[in-house]
Symmetry: C2
Subunit: 340 residues, 2 copies
C-alpha cells in the first residue's frame, strides 16, 4: 500500500483544491492511501462541503502553521516547524508516507525537503525535474530552477538522476540523454557545457550529445539536462508562448459571426487540441536527489492539475525512484573505486 502525504494548505487555493483532488485520487487509484496535512478546521469544513469524511484511506494529520507563498525559505524553515509543508515531509522522513506533494512556495519546499530528507550520497544538490509534451510522447527536463549556477559534475549528476527516473517510471532501459546547448557560436557553448559534454561522453549513460532549444519538443530525447537558470527560462518561456498561442487562436475564432460559427463546428477539435497541450496534465515536478520523494505542484494548480501532481508522486513512490538513484550511485562509486 502506497501512502502519499499532501500539504493540504499549500498553493494559491489551499484546501479548495487539495481536498477535492485527494477525493478524486482516492476514487481513481484504489491502491493508494492519502494523508491530508494541515489545519483540521478548514480541511474538515472542505470535506463536509463535499459530503466526504476521514477514513482509513484518507486521514487528516494536523499541522498548525501555513507557509506563505512569498515567505522566505529560511524563515519558513526556521520559524514554522509545524507547517503543513514541513509535517508532510516529516511523514516521508518517518516512513509513514512514501511521498509528499505540495503546491506551496518552491524555495521553502526545497529548503525544507533538503533539511529534513537530506540529499542522497553522491549528490551535491537536488534538482527540479518535470515531464513536458513532445511531438511523440514526452521528455523529462532538469534542472528547472533549483540551481542557478551548476558545475559540470552537478550536471552529470542531473543526467544520472534523470536517466534513472525515466528508466524507473517508463521502463525505458537506456533513456536518451541530451545536453542543452546553443548552436550559434564557433566553438559551441560555454566552458561548463563543454566540460559536461566530456563527462557525459565518458559516462555509461546513453548520451546523445548536444541538443538546441528547438529539439526539446521533437521527442528525440528522453532526458534534457541544463542548469537551473536556463531550464527555468526554457520552462517559463514555453508556458508563456503556449498561453499566447492559445490566446491568439481564441481571438481569431471570436473575430466575427462567421469565425464564431467555425469555432462551434471545430469545438471537438479545439478541445482535443487543448487537452493535448493542457499544462495541467503536466503538473507535478519532482525535487530529485533527496532521500525521499517530494513533488512540487504549481501554486496556481486547480483540482485536475493537483491531482496530476499526486499521480506523479504515486508513480515515483511505487517505483522507488530515490532508492534506485541511491543504489545506482553507490554502485557507480564502488566501480570508480575499483577502477582507480
Amino acid at each position: 500500500m502506497t501512502t502519499i502525504a499532501l500539504d493540504a494548505m499549500g498553493g494559491d487555493h489551499g484546501v479548495a483544491v487539495t481536498v477535492p483532488a485527494a477525493l478524486a485520487v482516492l476514487t481513481r487509484a484504489p491502491g493508494v492511501n492519502l494523508i491530508l496535512v494541515g489545519q483540521r478546521d478548514p480541511i474538515s469544513a472542505e470535506l463536509n462541503r463535499r459530503h466526504a469524511q476521514e477514513s482509513p484511506r484518507l486521514r487528516v494529520h494536523p499541522a498548525s502553521e501555513v507557509v506563505g507563498m512569498d515567505e522566505p525559505p529560511a524563515q519558513a524553515l526556521r520559524g514554522k516547524k509545524d507547517s503543513s509543508m514541513r509535517v508532510a515531509i516529516d511523514l516521508v522522513k518517518q516512513g509513514t508516507a512514501q511521498a509528499a506533494v505540495s503546491a506551496g512556495n518552491t524555495g521553502a519546499l526545497m529548503a525544507t525537503a533538503r533539511f529534513v530528507l537530506k540529499t542522497l550520497p553522491g549528490i551535491d544538490r537536488p534538482a527540479i525535474i518535470t515531464s513536458l509534451p513532445t511531438m511523440r510522447g514526452h521528455v523529462h527536463a532538469l534542472d528547472l530552477g533549483a540551481n542557478v549556477d551548476c558545475s559540470p559534475e552537478q550536471l552529470l549528476q542531473f543526467a544520472i538522476m534523470g536517466s534513472i527516473l525515466v528508466a524507473a517510471i517508463e521502463g525505458k532501459a537506456r533513456p536518451r540523454v541530451g545536453l542543452l546547448n546553443v548552436g550559434e557560436e564557433d566553438i559551441k557553448g560555454n566552458e561548463v557545457v563543454k566540460k559536461t559534454h566530456e563527462l557525459l561522453r565518458a559516462s555509461a549513460l546513453n548520451y546523445c550529445g548536444y541538443v538546441e532549444g528547438d529539439e526539446i519538443y521533437t521527442g528525440d530525447m528522453d532526458v534534457i539536462v541544463c542548469d537551473g537558470f536556463v531550464g527555468n527560462v526554457m520552462l517559463k518561456t514555453s508556458e508563456g508562448l503556449a498561453r499566447m498561442i492559445t490566446h491568439f487562436i481564441k481571438e481569431e475564432f471570436k473575430r466575427n459571426m462567421l469565425t464564431k460559427l467555425a469555432a462551434l463546428v471545430s469545438l471537438p477539435v479545439l478541445s482535443a487540441f487543448r487537452r493535448r497541450v493542457d499544462p495541467r496534465r503536466y503538473n507535478g515536478a519532482t525535487l530529485i536527489g533527496l532521500n525521499g520523494t517530494v513533488i512540487k505542484s504549481h501554486g496556481g494548480a486547480d483540482t485536475l492539475a493537483f491531482e496530476n501532481a499526486v499521480r506523479v508522486a504515486i508513480a515515483e513512490a511505487n517505483n522507488q525512484v530515490p532508492e534506485r538513484i541511491g543504489r545506482e550511485l553507490a554502485a557507480m562509486q564502488a566501480q570508480a573505486a575499483v577502477a582507480s
Copy 2:
C-alpha cells in the same frame, strides 16, 4: 536613397531565395536600391528565369567565393576574402551600402562583420537582437547567441543598444527594459544577473526590473536583456514549441472526415492565426554594436522570410541605428567623465 547589399549566395537556398526576395523588395519599397553580391552567373541565371535584369536600382556586385553553412568562422574570415558575405559587408564599410543582409552562417557573419566594421566605441562585443511577437505587439530580445558568457557591463551595453534600437525604429521615447531572470530561488538569479540589475537601476534607461520567461510574450516590455546562451535557448525553444503546437493543431484537424470538414470551415481563421505566429514575419536579426548595420536572416529562409530580413535592414538603415547608438554612447561617456 537607401542602398542595401544582399549576400546573394548565403543561406540554404542561395539565389533561388535572395533574387526573388530582392525583386519583391524593389516593387514594395520604392526608395530603396539593392546590390546583389555574389557569383555573376547564378545571379544572372536566376534574374533571367524571372524575366528580370540589372538596373540602377538592382545592381550585381561580383564576389567569387561562397562561405559554407558549416564553415568555421576563422576559416571563412581568413580564407575567403572575396566571399559574397565579406564583400557585402565591405560595401557597408565603404559607405556604398547602408546595410548588409545575409542568410549565411551566423558565426562567420559575426566574425566578418566584427573584423570589417569594428565594434562601436564603448561596446565590448556585438550582440544579436530580434523582434518577437507578443500578446500586444512585439518585443526585442538580446543577446540571442553571440555571447555565451556575459559580464554585467556587457548586459548593460545590450540594454542600452536595445533601447536605442527600439526608440529609433518604433519611435518609443522610453522603451521598457526587462532583465530576464528566474523566480524560483530564495535570492533570485545568479551573481551576474544581480549585478546587472544594480547597473540597470543606476542607469538612465527605463528599467522595469526582472522578468521571468513567461513574461516575454505578455507585451509588458519593449526590450528583454539576457546573455547569449539563455537568449538562444529561449528563442529556439519558442521556435520548437510553436512548431509542435502547429503540428498538433494540424493533426487534430486531420483526424477524421468530421474534423476535416471543421478544418475547411475554419480555414480563414486558421490562416489568420498562422499569419500571426508565422516565424517568417519575424525573420531578420540585427548584429548590434557595430559601425554599420548587418542583418542575419535564418539560413532556411524562404523568399517571404528573406524579404522581411531586408525590410529590417531598410528600417535600421533609414533610422541610422548604429550612428544613434554611437552618439548616445559618446554622450554617456562624456557625462560620466564630467561626473567623475
